[in-house]
Structures are given as structure tokens and as C-alpha cells.
Amino acid sequence: LHRKRPKFRVTDLTRMMYDESITPAEVVRKWRGENSALESNGSEGEHREDGDDFFKKTDGEKDDQWDYRAIPEFDYEELENKFGNNDMIESLRRRFASTKLSSRNNE
């Protein structure tokens, strides 16, 4: 059960997509191959020592605060690092029409 699953496998998604016992957020996390326990530790690390019941309470509240977003929240510093990187720029280039795929790749 604890072995690392391959990420983004389509069969995994089709299995989980309509399973009402898994919340959509959990589906996304599992499909991305992120460890769900790790994830919640990361975001609520400071509340860990407060015990389990407190944990649930904050979780529920966060759920209540949740609202529909058309544009997800981005971590712009991370994005800046990501796209400041030359390899990333090169791999993104083929999505653009201005790139001549054969000649300008080594530029």
C-alpha cells in the first residue's frame, strides 16, 4: 500500500473520479501521486501537537472558507524560478508558433 504509485495514471483517475467516498481534493492529491498525510503535515505543521480533535476542527473550517475560484492561487516566486530556468524555457518553446522546431532549439 505504501509503495510509490506512478503519477497521473488515467486508470487511477477513472477509478476515483466518481467514487463519492473520496473528496475531490483527495482525488487530485492521489492522482498527482502526492502523499496525502505528508501534504496535510506540511500545511498545518504548527498545529500538529494540538491533538487530533483540534485538527479536525481547523480542517472543517478551512473547508467552509473554501469558495469557487476560476483562477487558482499561484506561488509566483516558484513560478519565477521555474520559468527563469533555461531548460524550462526551451521545453516550453515548442508550444509556440514562433519557434522553428529544428533550428532554434540550441539557441
Binding site: T14, P24, Y68, A70, I71, K82, R95
Partner: protein, 403 residues
């Protein structure tokens, strides 16, 4: 109309609230939504913008019934017929005027995008004027896209479904979020004059390559140099990728809204100052990717940062691949599900499908009687896109059937 004996569809929580109501209206099924923020100690029940959306639904339909429980945590909604701006049903001069309250924290696109989904299935053309002290036309910190992105990145998608005539989104007055992110003073008019029996089946599998970027930089009530600064940084990042980048600059004064003071009951106040940038990338096959960033209501962010963030957001959205961004996907999926009983296909990036909203929408669609989505890997694709197949329900436009 659906037979009235059908029991309401039972849903819980406020997740995907607007799209659930849109689906209920389109399919004619009544819904019972319970546990709406029921565990919240401070703000239980429906939020002001959700109530506002219910009012909007009531304005553009005929015979809708909604009951909200005392605490606001339970809503029963029985949809009526989508009439649009037909004469005699709340419209004056063919225009439905919808006023948003000053406490509204959501951008007007929160109301516009669902309304656009209803409009093709309406009996008469839809003509809605959003006005009042709560209309925010810019992007908001609550995650709404700006009106410019709605106009240039979402409305053109309807043409792929064979809906393209007399669609216009006019921005009459711009506004950023006001003090504390609440309210604005903008004015937006949506004219949606193309009603169809059924949207065309969509097969969008080739994302093409990005060939141009267009955008709008807006400053309301602040110096126009902010626009120039945003545009310059954004272009600096995008130019190596797309030489064909053009960003329009729109400067307007801040809107005046009524703010009755103690001494001056007819007092007015400027609100909604700020600036922002909307960028839309178009591919050779007509796929659109948008990005939106606006200055935070508290201020303190230089325009260079806004421009930079917006450009990076656009690159991120493009890098996710597929033929639609996550901002446009709900619109496309809903239209596909309402299409004729045929399989439509849409290629999307994995990161776009791996989105809570999309999965919730898929689940909600099945509750409203649509077939489940088929998902498979797109062959010969470097980004690892997936192809989502959606079977239409073939309900289409109830009002058109008689015509």
C-alpha cells in the same frame, strides 16, 4: 419541462454552487442543497454573492422557486423556464438590470460566466446590465477573472459550439475591488442574442501552437503610467516566446458610488482604485489561454510585479498543455454535456483535469443525469495530455422546442 414528480437532487455543501444551480436550471431538475457552511461559527449559510446569484437566476427565469432555510444552510431550488430578457418578465426596455450589493467580494465574472451558460438556452435574447455598488470588473483576490478575460478568452469559446451571433460584453465603467476587497462601482452589460436548440458537438484535439498574445492593462483612478509599467515587464517576459504580443491600455477614472454619510445623506465616494492586467494567448487552432492579475485592494504592490506575475501565470497556464485552461474548462464541459446525444472530445492537460473543481463538476453532472466522462491518454503527445469524452444529454433548449 421535466415531470414535476421527480424528487429533488440532494447535494451538500456550497461547493460548485453556481454550476450546480446552472445545471439544475438547464436540466429542469430541482435541487436540495444542505449543509451550506453549516459548521462555520462565524458565517453559516449562503454567502452574499450566492444570494445575489440566486436573485440573478430569478431575474432571467420565469417560475423559479427558491426556499432558503432560516439559517441559510439549506436551499431548495425549483428552476423555471429560462426566459432571458423577454418583455414583461422583469425586463424594462429589453434589459434586465441586476444590482450587486456593496458587500460583494466576487468579481462580476463570477456571475457572468454562469449567466453565459444559460443564455444560449434561453427563450429570448439575454440582455443583462450589471450595476450597483458591488460590480468589480477587474480580477479579484477571491479568484475571479477580469471582465476582459471573460470577453476575450471565454466568450469566443462559444463559437466552437456554433454560438456566435450577437454576443457582446460591454464594459461601461471599470472598477477594481474597493476597500477591504468589497464592492466596486463598475458597470457591465452582457448581450447574448444567439439562442440555439442544441450546441454543436465539440471535437477539440489539436492544441496547435501559441501564435499571439493579446491583453488589456487597466488602471482605474490611478496614473496611466501603471499600465505602461505592467505592459513593459509582461512584454519583457513574453517577447522571447511570442513576438506578436500586443497589450491595450485602458485608463479610466474611479467610479463614484453613493456613500450616504451622517451629515451628507447624498454623499458620494470614489471607490475601486487600482490596476491590473489580463493576458490572453491564442493558438493556431483557436485555443485560448488566459491569465489575470490585479493589484491587491490593500495596495502595496508595484505594477512591475503585477505584470511579471501575470506573464508567468500565462506561461504556467500554457505549459499545462491541452486545448483549454482550467478557467475555461467548466464552461466547455457544461456546454458539451448539454449538447446533442453524441460523443464530444476535448484534449486537456493532466494538470488541468487534476483540479478539484473539474472533478466536482464531473460528479455533479452525473447527479444531474449526464453520462460519466470517458478519459484516456492522448496518443502521440509530448505533454501527456488526456482526452476527455463527454456524451451530450440532448436536452437543449426547452423554450426553443415549441418555436
Amino acid at each position: 419541462m421535466a415531470t414535476p414528480s421527480q424528487p429533488p437532487i440532494r447535494l451538500t455543501t456550497h461547493r460548485n454552487f453556481v454550476y450546480r444551480l446552472v445545471l439544475a436550471t438547464l436540466t429542469g431538475r430541482s435541487v436540495h442543497i444542505s449543509q451550506i457552511r453549516s459548521s462555520s461559527p462565524s458565517n453559516p449559510g449562503l454567502a452574499p454573492h450566492e444570494i445575489s446569484f440566486l436573485r440573478l437566476l430569478e431575474a432571467v427565469t420565469n417560475g423559479s422557486q427558491m426556499e432558503i432555510s432560516y439559517t441559510g444552510t439549506i436551499l431548495v431550488y425549483k428552476p423555471g423556464l429560462i426566459t432571458g430578457s423577454a418583455a414583461g418578465l422583469g425586463a424594462s426596455g429589453g434589459v434586465v438590470k441586476h444590482e450587486l450589493p456593496s458587500g460583494c467580494t466576487r468579481g462580476v465574472s463570477y456571475f457572468l460566466l454562469p449567466l453565459c451558460l444559460l443564455a444560449p438556452f434561453s427563450k429570448a435574447p439575454m440582455n443583462v446590465l450589471f450595476t450597483g455598488p458591488g460590480v468589480i470588473t477587474s480580477a479579484t483576490p477571491t479568484g475571479d477573472m477580469s471582465v476582459d478575460s471573460a470577453r476575450t478568452a471565454v466568450l469566443p469559446l462559444y463559437s466552437q459550439f456554433g454560438i456566435f451571433n450577437n454576443i457582446e460584453l460591454r464594459i461601461l465603467r471599470r472598477s477594481n475591488p474597493g476597500h477591504n476587497g468589497k464592492g466596486g462601482g463598475g458597470e457591465v452589460q452582457l448581450t447574448f442574442g444567439h439562442q440555439v436548440r442544441l450546441p454543436k458537438t465539440l471535437h477539440l484535439m489539436n492544441s496547435g501552437r501559441i501564435k499571439k498574445v493579446r491583453g488589456v492593462a487597466y488602471s482605474t483612478g490611478v496614473s496611466a503610467s501603471n499600465n505602461a509599467r505592467m505592459i513593459e515587464t509582461a512584454r519583457g517576459i513574453l517577447n522571447p516566446f511570442v513576438p506578436d504580443t500586443y497589450v491595450f491600455s485602458d485608463v479610466s477614472s474611479a467610479p463614484l458610488v453613493r456613500a450616504p454619510g451622517e451629515k451628507i445623506p447624498s454623499g458620494k465616494q470614489r471607490t475601486g482604485l487600482g490596476f491590473g492586467l489580463s493576458l490572453v494567448a491564442e493558438s493556431s487552432t483557436g485555443c485560448l489561454f488566459s491569465a489575470d492579475v490585479a493589484s491587491p485592494p490593500a495596495g502595496g504592490q508595484p505594477p512591475e510585479d503585477v505584470g511579471k506575475h501575470c506573464a508567468y501565470q500565462l506561461l504556467e497556464t500554457i505549459s499545462k498543455g491541452g486545448c483549454a485552461s482550467s478557467a475555461a474548462a467548466p464552461t466547455m464541459f457544461t456546454l458539451m454535456a448539454m449538447g446533442s446525444e453524441d460523443v464530444g472530445r476535448l484534449q486537456l492537460g493532466r494538470e488541468v483535469v487534476a483540479d478539484e473543481n473539474i472533478i466536482q463538476l464531473a460528479r455533479d453532472l452525473t447527479k444531474f443525469g449526464a453520462a460519466g466522462w470517458g478519459i484516456r491518454d492522448a496518443g502521440d503527445n509530448l505533454d501527456g495530455d488526456v482526452i476527455v469524452s463527454v456524451v451530450g444529454r440532448g436536452i437543449g433548449n426547452v423554450g426553443r422546442k415549441v418555436a
